[in-house]
């Protein structure tokens, strides 16, 4: 087996093969998401296997500054996000954050984000935890995306209140999720893996009415 482990290219291939055999928490709903999506109205898809890292560090501490230098900053208050390239940090609580990065940022696929955060943390007071398998990601987009969410979320989602680039830890469909408004008509919803099927089916049901002609 020495030959296969030697070259970095073959390691990459192995990582890609590993990814191909993984099953995401809402994989069984992929076809239903595709057929339930209404192009130009509201569309739903799972974005599987994003790299998620939980950070804890007291605001203003040296540890927080070192972590911020890796992520490009840490949001200061509720709702805040800091985006640096393809990586975004969401505010979860005072001193608690979630880093959302592409799949390839994970060490199992050759990324070095988590190691970089761990070495920034060093022996400082805080935490860097790989939470990639904790949640999956749903992407809800289109002009009706807000109307769909409003059926099960008590936050004020009107654009005059909720701006793009805001993320809240809250409830949608009575389950705890992180809701991140990524654009004017696009949302990312992070349910825990065990809630993925429930939330997926709930969203499909909430989207159904927009497939029919509007009742005058």
């Amino acid at each position: 087996m020495a030959e296969t482990a030697a070259s970095p290219t073959s390691e990459k291939n192995l990582a890609a093969q590993n990814l191909a055999v993984r099953t995401s928490p809402a994989r069984q709903l992929a076809e239903a998401f595709a057929s339930g999506s209404l192009a130009g109205t509201v569309e739903l898809a799972e974005v599987p296997f994003l790299t998620l890292v939980g950070l804890r560090a007291q605001a203003g501490s040296e540890t927080a500054q070192r972590l911020a230098s890796v992520t490009g900053g840490l949001p200061a208050q509720c709702g805040g996000t800091v985006t640096n390239g393809d990586t975004t940090v969401l505010w979860l609580g005072p001193g608690e954050f979630l880093v959302v990065a592409p799949t390839e940022a994970h060490e199992s696929l050759g990324g070095d984000l988590i190691q970089a955060l761990q070495s920034a943390l060093a022996d400082g007071q805080g935490q860097v935890v790989d939470l990639s398998a904790n949640r999956t990601t749903f992407e809800l987009t289109g002009p009706r995306a807000r109307a769909v969410l409003e059926k099960g979320c008590s936050l004020d989602l009107h654009p005059r209140v909720l701006k793009a680039g805001t993320a809240y830890s809250t409830e949608v469909a009575n389950i705890p999720v992180i809701l991140w408004k990524t654009g004017e008509e696009s949302f990312r919803i992070f349910p825990r893996a065990s809630f993925a099927e429930f939330l997926g089916r709930w969203l499909l049901d909430a989207m159904r009415e927009y497939a029919s002609p509007e009742v005058p």
Partner: protein, 101 residues
């Protein structure tokens, strides 16, 4: 449904919170010196106030932080929200430390 103002997140539905019982119940200084009656009073006995009551809440679905709240147990009117570890912001006598009457 109560609308509770989390000190970190602002007003959110009651379903995002969990109740933590009576506030300002201090842990005994020397638990080993308590007899069973005193220990049981610390563990299990709480005030059953009709009116303004100081209690603990945690924003479990949001920022996951604890805070204190003054709530009227009759009208459910929320009179104050204040940080853990700070005294009850009221002129009326504070709830008894430790065990209730």
């Amino acid at each position: 449904m109560l609308l509770i103002s989390c000190p970190n997140c602002g007003p959110r539905d009651e379903t995002e919170f969990h109740y933590g019982g009576q506030a300002h119940v201090a842990y005994p200084e020397n638990p080993n010196e308590l007899n069973d009656v005193e220990w049981s009073r610390y563990l299990f006995y709480r005030a059953n106030t009709k009116g303004t009551f100081a209690e603990r809440w945690v924003h479990s679905t949001g920022c996951r932080q604890w805070f204190n709240m003054l709530r009227d147990t009759v009208s459910y009117d929320i009179k104050a929200v204040y940080p853990m570890g700070t005294p009850r912001p009221d002129t009326t006598p504070a709830a008894p430390e430790g065990a209730a009457k």
